[in-house]
């Protein structure tokens, strides 16, 4: 089926992402946005409740965040933009209109580069990024006594700054759409403007999807898909819709312009409303807010607050000689990338070696530690980059063996103590002197006469089990090269 779609039709996908900003206060009032887990209607005031007579005041931090987002997405930041009222009735909309931006958004005309594994990178156009406010939340209940449904309104979310990021219809496959979302989320988290967590609802995605005969330029009739609550859902809904639309077209049917909802349990989209039923939002300029004028200085301040972005970081690491996989994994989160950079900077000596060792450790032991417990993040690691670098340097200088280094790292994650302290206290310093090791080697040969005989009769591999015996006895502190030399010497005598 999918193959047929791919050869006969071309899929055209555009995405609209709504993303909550992690400002301290709400978009137009002083209420805290830290309502997650709070009792309903405890983070509210007359303004976000839409009481008669209230007025909005723009949250400057939100504007700085949207400017940072626009810059990170290569957008033009408008010197002059304005807010508009979007009018519609719904019980979660406290004022009966949403303060949004219609024709003059803060950011427009940007792009985001995506790269689906195994394919060439592609630029996806960003049409616009605009600022608006989130709605309240409705909780649907059923009266246990009467069986009747009713709804409760939790106003905590009302007025939370919300950014809408609209892409051009530049994506061609569900995989591209997913990659776009993954990279967009990564950028938003890097620049620290949003938690961008789809499952928690602070990063929501609607998709517009249409099909056209391959090789033609005109767009087909588009369908809007809503209610997708994970990246997987976006991917699956688009994949379903490709097939559904292809089937309609193949039978000579017409695609109806409509909004469809993704039903995850059934893995299908279902029609929600047609174009005829669509709202006329009657946008007009918000008279309670003067136009938003952003000075060059404001935009430059926002730019100065941007960290090195994931794409640039990846490029830099590739330039240092790391593999695609290493570069991508090390830069997956800003936390990890910065940790890695700090570790490398703190490792003394040869740079190329430090880059490689740092990558091995951060992707190896550090990654294992983070993954060992659900919800664990790098921020909780008690080992500072400098401490890890010290450990790496000790292993590198043969003060301790590789095996011991791992053991020390584990102790460091438990106690937060430095490698030097742990090594000294536990006597884990590498045994490299032949006098110190000879006893262990002889003991191993005596304890393993068969292996010794095998080696003497020419079985090179038998040396490994003797090595293992020595390492076990020395609890890994022995220098493997020295042990190997001593074994050969003893066994050849």
């Amino acid at each position: 089926m999918t193959t047929a779609v791919a050869t006969e039709f071309e899929t055209v996908i555009g995405l609209e992402v709504h993303c909550q900003l992690i400002t301290r206060s709400k978009m137009f009032c002083g209420c805290s946005t830290a309502y997650s887990g709070a009792a309903p209607n405890t983070h509210v005031c007359p303004v976000c409740m839409g009481m008669p007579g209230v007025l909005p005041v723009i949250n400057e931090q939100a504007i700085e965040y949207i400017a940072m987002t626009g810059l990170a997405l290569n957008c033009h930041i408008a010197e002059f933009s304005k807010f508009d009222r979007k009018n519609y009735h719904y019980p979660d909309l406290m004022k009966g209109y949403q303060v949004s931006q219609y024709d003059l958004p803060v950011c427009k005309d940007g792009w985001l580069e995506i790269q689906v594994e195994g394919e060439a990178p592609r630029r996806i156009g960003i049409t616009r990024v605009h600022m608006e406010e989130d709605t309240a939340r409705l909780l649907h209940r059923v009266d246990a006594a009467t069986g009747e449904g009713y709804s409760l309104v939790d106003v905590n979310r009302s007025g939370t700054p919300l950014m809408e990021i609209v892409s051009e219809p530049d994506m061609r496959t569900p995989a591209e759409a997913r990659d776009y979302l993954v990279r967009l989320r990564q950028i938003l988290r890097y620049i620290g403007v949003s938690d961008a967590n789809m499952e928690e609802g602070n990063f929501r995605c609607d998709a517009n999807v249409s099909l056209r005969p391959r090789g033609t330029a005109a767009f087909g009739t588009k369908v809007e898909i809503k209610n997708m609550n994970s990246f997987r859902a976006v991917h699956d809904a688009l994949a379903f819709e490709e097939i559904r639309q292809a089937a309609v077209l193949r039978e000579g049917g017409k695609i109806v312009q409509e909004t469809r909802g993704w039903v995850d349990e059934r893995q299908v989209t279902v029609s929600q409303r047609s174009k005829e039923e669509a709202n006329d939002y009657r946008y007009f300029p918000e008279p309670d807010l003067p136009p938003l004028e952003l000075s060059r200085e404001f935009v430059e301040r926002a730019r100065a607050r941007l960290p090195e972005l994931p794409a640039a970081r990846r490029e830099r690491l590739l330039g240092l000689g790391l593999s695609e996989h290493e570069a991508a994994t090390l830069t997956e989160t800003r936390e990890r990338a910065e940790y890695y950079d700090a570790v490398v900077a703190a490792i003394p000596g040869d740079r190329a070696r430090a880059i490689k060792l740092g990558a091995n450790w951060v992707l190896g032991e550090v990654g294992r530690w983070v993954n060992a417990a659900p919800g664990r993040t790098l921020a909780a690691l008690p080992v500072t980059p400098a401490a890890l670098a010290e450990l790496i340097a000790m292993a590198e200088s043969a003060a301790i063996t590789g095996a011991v280094a791992k053991e020390v790292f584990e102790k460091m994650t438990e106690s937060g103590e430095s490698a030097t302290v742990i090594v000294e206290r536990a006597g884990l310093a590498q045994m490299g002197g032949s006098g110190e090791l000879e006893g262990f080697v002889r003991k191993a040969i005596e304890a393993n006469p068969k292996a010794a005989a095998d080696f003497r009769s020419g079985k090179e591999a038998a040396l490994n089990s003797l090595m293992g015996a020595v390492m076990k006895e020395t609890r890994g502190r022995a220098n493997p090269d020295a042990v190997r030399d001593l074994l050969r010497k003893e066994l050849s005598e």
Partner: protein, 488 residues
């Protein structure tokens, strides 16, 4: 205690309070008794607050004792019922807010409280300030104290009637297209609509957000200057509030007006203006000349006639959004007899709003609809700019512009209520300044057939001082101030 203390102007009362010849409690009691006596005839209030008033009066007397009194401390004030007052029902003249007790205070009420003023009640008004007669109040019409069969004007008719009837010494109204100036004119009071942005709209139930402005009504020019001084100034909670510091408005009172240039736009002298009104205005212009002003009647503001159309597109458009929040879900009147949530919302709005409000919601919704926006809303905004430019050009030549406030004196209750367009025409002289956001003051300039005629003085943006200077000089020369009708 003096008899009939309710007859005093605020500044007269202040002198007596300061001299301890009168206490605020005595003054407030005098006003409350007056309310008891005449309110059945006038209906200036939707909600009366006698207990609160006496409590505030006692606080005021304590301030006089401790030397922290201001010119408004202890002065009984009426507050238009769209000004949000914490703990005191605020209806905006609408059934849909019949039981709404606000959990917060408006900026202007905070300012009054800070000054130590005494609130005696919430004044009647046309529902959501939509009207020119208070006949569109859900709480009954207010009557003009000069003749109880006539309207007091509107929408701040209750605020004007209360001051004229002795039921408050001064009041706060709000002006969107003439709602302070026109009722002041029809009741022989002084009403001042300041520059848009001069007074914070925080806590003012919104009608037309780009036009709404709170201002005072009083019995003479000095009292409205004092009130405006109190309520003006920057408020960070209103993003359209002007951050400029306010000059001391009272300093303009008594300044010489010789050489002041007065423009009189000929477009304001139209058919429909009553002869008695025209006579009083002509006399007023002569008086300005006698005072040494240069009066030029050749001024032309050609777009004047379009102000009405502009206003009746922009104000209803904004109102259609501003009134969307009244759905019966959160506060106020709620009809829950419907079969569904949507039905309940519709029934709440159908039963909670009056006809004039519904008419304007329809107008505004239509003007903003897809396919009509450019022809109506956008066009209106462009014409608004043209009107603005004409005023700006005029202010390069003139200090102030003088016009009649209303083409008529007070008209009978019921005369225009069924003819919306005739009612809208009553604001034809006040709409242009509103549309431009300019300050305008109305003060009495005599009687026509026994009823007050109002003179409007329009100034440039944030030039309230010059308006007060002209108004005070005129008032002094005419010898008309604090003239209260005989209600007996």
């Amino acid at each position: 205690m003096m008899a009939e203390a309710w007859r005093l102007t605020a500044h007269e009362a202040h002198e007596r309070l300061r001299a301890r010849e009168l206490s605020s409690v005595e003054l407030t009691r005098s006003v409350l008794e007056r309310i008891e006596a005449v309110e059945p005839k006038v209906n200036a209030y939707i909600t009366r607050t006698p207990e609160l008033a006496l409590e505030q009066a006692r606080e005021a007397d304590a301030r006089f004792a401790s030397g922290t009194a201001t010119p408004l401390t202890g002065i009984p004030v009426a507050v238009k019922d769209l000004i949000v007052t914490k703990g005191v029902r605020t209806t905006a003249g609408s059934r849909i807010l019949e039981n709404f007790i606000p959990p917060y205070d408006s900026h202007v009420y905070e300012q009054l409280r800070r000054a130590g003023a005494v609130m005696v009640g919430k004044a009647n008004m046309d529902e959501f300030a939509m009207g020119s007669s208070t006949e569109h109040s859900a709480y009954g019409v207010s009557h003009n104290p000069w003749n109880l069969d006539l309207v007091p004007g509107g929408s701040s008719g209750g605020s004007a009637a209360a001051v004229a009837a002795g039921e408050a010494l001064v009041s706060l109204g709000s002006d969107t297209g003439g709602s302070i100036r026109q009722p002041a004119s029809l009741t022989g009071m002084v009403g001042f609509d300041p520059t848009y942005g001069r007074v914070s709209r925080f806590g003012i139930v919104a009608f037309g957000s780009s036009l709404d402005q709170v201002g005072p009504i009083g019995r003479d020019v000095e009292d409205v200057a004092t009130m405006l001084d109190c309520i003006s100034g920057h408020d960070p909670r209103d993003s359209t509030s002007n951050p400029e510091p306010l000059p001391d408005l009272r300093a303009y009172l008594g300044q010489d007006v010789r050489g002041m240039k007065i423009g009189v736009p000929r477009e304001y002298f139209i058919a429909g203006m009553e002869p008695g009104v025209k006579d009083r205005i002509d006399e007023a212009l002569k008086l300005f000349e006698e005072l040494g002003c240069e009066v030029d009647t050749s001024l032309s503001l050609p777009s004047t006639e379009h102000a009405l159309a502009v206003y009746y597109i922009i104000a209803p458009s904004e109102a259609s959004a501003n009134l969307a929040r009244y759905d019966g879900v959160k506060y106020g009147f709620s009809d829950r007899t419907g079969a569904s949530m949507w039905e309940n919302m519709e029934q709440t709005r159908a039963g909670g709003f009056g006809n004039e409000v519904k008419r304007r919601i329809m107008l505004g919704t239509y003007a903003l609809s897809a396919g009509y926006y450019d022809a109506y809303y956008l066009k209106a905004q462009k014409v608004r700019t043209v009107i603005n430019r004409e005023f700006q050009a005029a202010f390069e030549k003139y200090d102030v512009i003088v016009t009649p406030t209303s083409p008529t004196v007070a008209f009978p209750i019921g005369a225009k209520v069924d003819d919306p367009f005739a009612m809208y025409l009553n604001d034809v002289y006040t709409l242009p300044a509103s549309v431009a956001g300019l300050p305008g003051l109305s003060l009495p300039c005599g009687l026509s057939e026994g009823l007050p005629v109002g003179l409007q003085i329009i100034g440039n943006f944030f030039d309230e001082g010059r308006i007060l200077r002209a108004a005070y000089a005129f008032e002094s020369a005419l010898g008309w101030s604090n003239r209260l009708p005989d209600l007996a």
